[in-house]
Each structure stands twice: as C-alpha cells, then as structure tokens.
C-alpha cells in the first residue's frame, strides 16, 4: 500500500471561528479526492492540515495509522505538493528550478532525467531559459514537471488547472488518471470537472457557522 491518509472528526478553528467540524476523510491507493467550497470555506486551511503544516484543533489525522505529526518525515518523503504559487523561482532556469526541487525532495536527478520530465510537459528546448522569460502557463508547467521527475505516491495539488491551456488540462487529467492507476493518490482543490468521474470523491466544505 502506498497511500493511507485518514482523517477522523477533523475540525478547524481559525481566529475564533469554526471553519469545519467533524470531517471524515480516507485517501488510499488509486483515490482522487477533490475538495470544493466557496472562498473562505477553509479549503486552504484543510490542505495545510493535510500537508502536516497545521495541527487540527480537534480530531485525528493519521498516515499509515500513525499520527501525522509524528510521521512527518515519512509523510514528506511520500508527498509531492504543488501550491497556489507554483514554487518556481522566476530568476532561475527551468533546469535549475527542477534540480533544486529534486534535491529538496532528497532525490538525485540527472540532467537527462530533468530534460525528459521537461519534455513531458512540453518544455523541451526551454531548459536553460530563466523562468521569467516564460509565460505564466509555462511557469506552471515547470512546476508540473515535478510530477514526472519525482516518484511520489501522494500528490496534493492546489488549483492545478489554473493558467494552463486546454492541451495542458487534458494532459494533466490523463496524468492524474495514470498516477492513480499505478497506485498513487491525488488530493486537489479545483473547479474543474473531470471527464472520468467515477474515481473522484468530493468533499464540499460548507459555510460553517
């Protein structure tokens, strides 16, 4: 089993306001979990909890049965996160960005592997250009190239479909599907509707009071 992230009776209070309460989640191999909700409903906060950045005020979060806060190291080694800001330094080239990402993940990536992953997201030939000379969509693709470069079972993606074109959306959708077929799992926030809807479970965060 690659992925086993469980939440029981999760609750979140921010600035003396309850954003959500008694939330139960299970993410296992092959699952796609989609988090929906209006602005301010706590999507970002939930993602921060699921990435072990914030501890829940109530309820438990476990990774393979161990409390997430204690299993952080193992969890981070299984996690690939692409946030709202893609984490691509504008002054660095695509290649430099990816080799830094790989090092931070603790992976040795050869230039050939980086080139291959950039080619997979359609950035062949752009390896040595500073990211600031690329379009916003291309910068996001540099971030998405991490999905090819690193083999991580759990992907957590915050609005991954923004700023990329229709081909890119189709590619990413297929990539997510193959990732799940191979036994990975994906948690994402998006307004995008998937074509193959059967794998996707949705959590809708209501406006809690």
């Amino acid at each position: 089993m690659n992925v086993a992230l469980d939440a029981r009776q999760l609750a979140c209070e921010r600035d003396d306001r309850w954003l959500f309460e008694s939330l139960d989640l299970h993410v296992g191999d092959g699952d796609i979990l989609r988090i929906e909700g209006a602005n301010g409903s706590g999507k970002t906060t939930l993602l921060k909890m699921l990435t072990a950045q914030l501890s829940p005020q109530a309820g438990t979060l476990t990774w393979h049965g161990r409390p997430l806060a204690r299993a952080r190291d193992a969890f981070f080694r299984a996690l690939l996160y692409i946030g709202h800001a893609p984490g691509v330094a504008a002054a660095l080239t695509a290649e430099e960005n990816l080799s830094w990402s790989a090092a931070m993940a603790g992976i040795k990536a050869s230039p050939a592997e980086i080139e291959r992953s950039l080619a997979a997201v359609g950035l062949a030939g752009f390896e040595n250009l500073p990211a600031q000379q690329l379009s916003a969509g291309q910068q996001r693709r540099i971030a998405l190239a991490r999905l090819e470069l690193m083999k991580r079972p759990l992907w957590i993606l915050d609005e991954p479909f923004t700023a990329i074109d229709r081909d890119g959306v189709a590619w990413l959708e297929r990539r997510i599907a193959t990732h799940c077929e191979e036994g990975g799992a994906v948690i994402l926030t998006t307004h995008h509707t998937f074509q193959a809807n059967d794998r996707v479970t949705s959590v809708v965060l209501g406006v809690a009071d």
């Binding site: 921010r14 600035d15 003396d16 306001r17 501890s55």
Partner: protein, 243 residues
Amino acid sequence: MWTFIHKLGSPKWCYTLCGRLQPGFWAAAALLLCVGSVWALGYSPRDYQMGDSYRIIYVHVPSAILAQSIFIAMAVASAVLLVWKIKVADMAARVMAPFGAAMTFLALFSGSLWGVPTWGTWWTWDARLTSMLIQLFLYLGVIALRGAFGSADQGAKAVAVLTLVGVVNIPIIKYSVVWWNTLHQPATFTLTQPPAMVASMWMPLLVMVLGFYCFFIALTLYRLRNEILRRESRTRWVQELAD
C-alpha cells in the same frame, strides 16, 4: 499539574478563576500601595547624601523590577502557547505587554528625573538606563508586531517567537551595555544601589514593590477576563453572560 494546565486552557474555567482571584489582589494592591506611599513619602528618613530626592527610588525601583518581570512573564506565556497551544496564555501575554511598556517608561522617566539633582543632567548613558531604554524598544516591537498581523492566531505565534528571542537577548544586552559602560566611563555611582540602606528606608521600598506586583497581577487578571470575553464572544457562555 497536567489537569491544572489543561483546565487553564479552557477559557471559561480561566475566566471564573480570574474572577475569583481578582478582588484579593486589588485589595492587597490598594492596601500595600497606600501604606507604602505614606511610609515612603512621609516617614522614611531623609538620605544624608541625596536629601529628599532619593524618594524617587520608591517609584523607580518597583517599576524597573516590574519592567523586567513582565517581560519574563510574557516569555513564559509565549512558551506555553508554542508548546501546549493554549490560547489563554497568548491572551495573557497580549494583556501584559502595554503595562510592561508603561512600567519601562516609568522607570526611565523617574530615573531621568532623579538624574537631574544627582548628575545635573536629564539623561546620562548609565548602564541601567541604557538597557532600560533598549528594553522599551523591545516592548514596542512586540506590540507593533502584534498590531501588524491581521490574523489573531498567526500574530500570537509570531509575537511568541519574538518574545522568546527577546528574553534570550535581554541578559546579553545588559551584559554588553555594562561592558560598554565601563569601557567609556569608569563607574561613578549607580542608580539603584545607594550605599547600604537602613531598614526604615528599604522596608517601604519592599512594600511598594509588593504593591506594584499585586497591582500588576490584579490588572492582568481583570484585563485577561476582558480579553477572554472578546476572543470568545461567539460562544454561548459569553453571550449568556451578557444578559
């Protein structure tokens, strides 16, 4: 001990406890401050060297002691917040900061007033006054940082980190300022160590120090209750309290 800490973490329980402790501290503060003032101003003997100007120390010393104690108390509260994530600790730290800054200012003001008859100048770069001035800036930094954050929870944690960094630095700052002071002006005589005070002089001082402490505790309890109500205003028990 553990259950006590966890009970303290419950705002409602803490609110009741503060309410119960409060009157005693107010009474003690009023009594000690009145007795101390009359004693210090009217009955303690005149200093043969400094004359009646020395009566400033009955304000200066308690405020200087409080200025330091309050920062340490804030640091303890900050550590409790960061380690046990107890919100009441942050509320206490928040409530203490303005009073701490005020006490630091009072210590500076009274010290500088004392400087005129003693050194003939409003300000001298005495080691004690200098480190007190730096401490005032630390207090103001803590208050300003809290004000800069829109989110109360985030601000609380940031302020806690700054307070802890500050409390580690205070002894270093003090030491460095003393070192600097001896480098530049060989020690004349320092502000708060008048040559061997007699009992009739230091007894009222002790009373004043205790009075200031009691006042600080009473005020903190009172304002902590306010802060709890403000932060918990959405809960039912607070709303029922309002009726």
